[in-house]
């Protein structure tokens, strides 16, 4: 920025200059869904596919949102993010396996409370683990990208092995609570109940993040830190503390995503987090690294495209994520919602 740049100063009594909103990426989702309707052909099938895609997108968003915040604020590429997904899913077994009665009970209330308990425990454990991970693994390598990539990969390997140590090498079946099984019929379209729950939880997480980021002081500091960390520090806020908080929150979100994903798969392996890592990275690149809104839209787009492709052209589904990423990056090279700093 040069000194000669002219800044338009708003009149003192006037309203603040309004920020121009960019709705184009958000429009992609309804447009995509509508374009696919004639291609899929049958309306009930289309509803099933769309709801399934939205639900999957919500779960991916929950897992990816923490990573994009961590990258945006701390400039840390955390390849170990998948470890928190795995740990979250495995921690849920501590609640879901012993409390079989509540899981198998034919009561929505009991089922919901057991799910809430599992999520609470998983998020607490992953948040604490995130705190330790930030201290031990990441703190010594702030600002060194190559080392960050190497060391978080190493952390991921160690974490995956430790899961084997703690929970054993066998796969663990994770039972879905009784009333969440099966599907309900909307007209002729069958929609799995668990997917609806995933949509609700995903929307709640997005709304909560949106409110915290845009309506609270913490959120203001986080957004400011993403844009210009040094300035936040210069204004006497301890940005390191913010880092730790965001890292813990991001890890806890990964844990929540892990519980949802594990229940969706109904079978747990230690590699569950590693397998999803690549997808999560694709999503945050599509969304624009550091942008929560972009991450949300990116996750929904990836999941919807994968679902439609799986139905229309199963072979294409294998590479649909990559193709989508290429297409988006050709349109907007820095992602759907580029963050100002980068």
């Amino acid at each position: 920025m040069t000194l000669t740049t002219q800044v338009a100063i708003p009149p003192a009594d006037g309203a603040l200059p309004s920020v121009e909103r960019d709705y184009l990426p958000a429009l992609l989702i309804p447009v995509l869904a509508l374009v696919m309707l004639p291609l899929v052909g049958s309306f009930p099938t289309w509803v099933t596919l769309t709801v399934a895609g939205l639900a999957m997108g919500m779960m991916i968003f929950i897992m990816a949102s923490g990573l994009t915040l961590i990258f945006g604020l701390m400039d840390v590429l955390n390849f170990g993010h998948g470890a928190f997904v795995s740990v979250g899913a495995f921690t849920a077994t501590y609640v879901l396996l012993p409390m079989k009665d509540w899981v198998q009970a034919d009561s929505v209330l009991l089922n919901l409370s057991v799910l809430a308990l599992a999520i609470l425990l998983a998020m607490t454990v992953t948040a604490l683990l995130g705190w330790a991970f930030e201290r031990i693994i990441i703190r010594p390598v702030y600002g060194l990208h190559l080392k960050q990539i190497l060391i978080t990969m190493g952390g991921m390997i160690v974490a995956e092995q430790l899961i084997h140590v703690v929970w054993g090498a066998e796969q663990i079946p994770l039972p879905l609570p009784e009333t969440f099984r099966g599907a309900i019929l909307l007209g002729d379209a069958a929609v799995e109940k668990y997917r609806l729950i995933a949509v609700v939880i995903g929307l709640a997480v997005f709304a909560a993040m949106f409110l915290v980021l845009n309506r609270t002081k913490i959120g203001l500091l986080i957004r400011a830190g993403v844009e210009n960390g040094e300035m936040v520090e210069a204004l006497s806020y301890r940005i390191r503390r913010l880092f730790v908080g965001v890292f813990m929150a991001g890890s806890a979100l990964a844990g929540l995503g892990g519980v949802m994903w594990g229940l969706y798969k109904e079978m747990l392996t230690a590699a569950i987090g590693g397998e999803i890592t690549v997808l999560v990275f694709i999503v945050i690149i599509i969304g624009g690294l550091g942008s929560v809104g972009g991450c949300f839209i990116g996750a929904l787009l990836v999941a919807l495209v994968a679902n439609y492709a799986g139905f229309l052209a199963p072979k294409v589904a294998l590479v649909s994520d990559i193709l989508l990423m290429v297409a988006v990056l050709l349109w907007r090279p820095r992602g759907l919602y580029p963050v100002a700093k980068r």
Binding site: P140, I149, L150, I157, V158, L162, V165, V166, G274
Partner: protein, 247 residues
């Protein structure tokens, strides 16, 4: 002559020289010294991985570019040789054709990827690394007499290569020899050792699980993290630094 062959880049450490000679002699004499399929398989795998890891080191160590697509070239080489042998029958001619075709595909792909993702930065290294990885793939396919996505293209192979490069020492090429030898020996023999340790520790809480033979990767992972922190130049860099301190 030797100076020219090594481009003046000697090991610069007595311990390292001894280690390298030990690995070299051990590998060269392996078919005569040991019997049985397993030790021979270990020796052959080390040979192939030295080439593969060295080719990755060209990219990661010398230019600092982190690529997770290196196994692709390895796979192209393996599938090139494999498909040619499958279609044309077992002959030297088939190996030659398969190798040349694989090299051509790798070169074009490496060039295109380099052009798009790296913008001519270090494109020569990228192409060279890809070609050598392709040759390593051909060797592996010939040794295993089998080609499959799990053994050639999986992400685990990629993390293994990364571990070998970093533990051995980035940007040294000698590190590839040391890293591959240690990693593959550990992969095959650490398990037996850990089995004994696990049996000895039986009855104690958690410890037997930590030393369970299947957890060998845990300890290599810890070694990897520690080496990124404390000796980022790996074993080779450490040995060289020690030799450099005492004149």
């Amino acid at each position: 002559m030797l100076n020219k062959l090594l481009s003046g880049d000697f090991p610069r450490s007595r311990a390292l020289t001894a280690l390298l000679l030990f690995v070299f002699v051990g590998l060269a004499l392996a078919p005569f010294l040991v019997s049985g399929a397993r030790p021979l398989n270990v020796a052959a795998t080390i040979c192939v991985f030295i080439v593969l890891v060295a080719s990755y080191d060209l990219l990661l160590g010398y230019t600092g570019i982190v690529s997770f697509a290196h196994t692709m070239f390895y796979g192209i080489g393996a599938y090139g040789a494999g498909l040619a042998l499958y279609e044309m029958g077992p002959s030297w001619w088939a190996i030659l054709v398969g190798t040349l075709a694989a090299l051509a595909v790798s070169l074009v792909l490496a060039f295109v990827i380099g052009l798009f993702s790296l913008r001519v930065k270090a494109i020569f290294y990228a192409c060279l690394g890809a070609l050598i990885a392709t040759l390593a793939g051909v060797l592996m396919a010939l040794w295993l007499r089998y080609v499959g996505p799990k053994t050639m293209l999986s992400f685990e192979v990629m993390t293994d290569i990364l571990l070998m490069v970093v533990i051995g020492g980035m940007g040294t090429l000698y590190g590839a020899v040391i890293g591959a030898a240690i990693f593959i020996l550990a992969q095959n023999y650490l398990q037996a050792l850990m089995g004994q340790a696990s049996a000895a520790l039986a009855g104690l809480p958690l410890l037997p699980q930590l030393f369970h033979p299947d957890r060998w990767l845990l300890w290599l992972g810890v070694l990897f993290v520690l080496s990124v922190y404390f000796f980022p130049t790996g074993i080779v860099g450490r040995l060289r630094a020690r030799a450099g301190r005492k004149p």
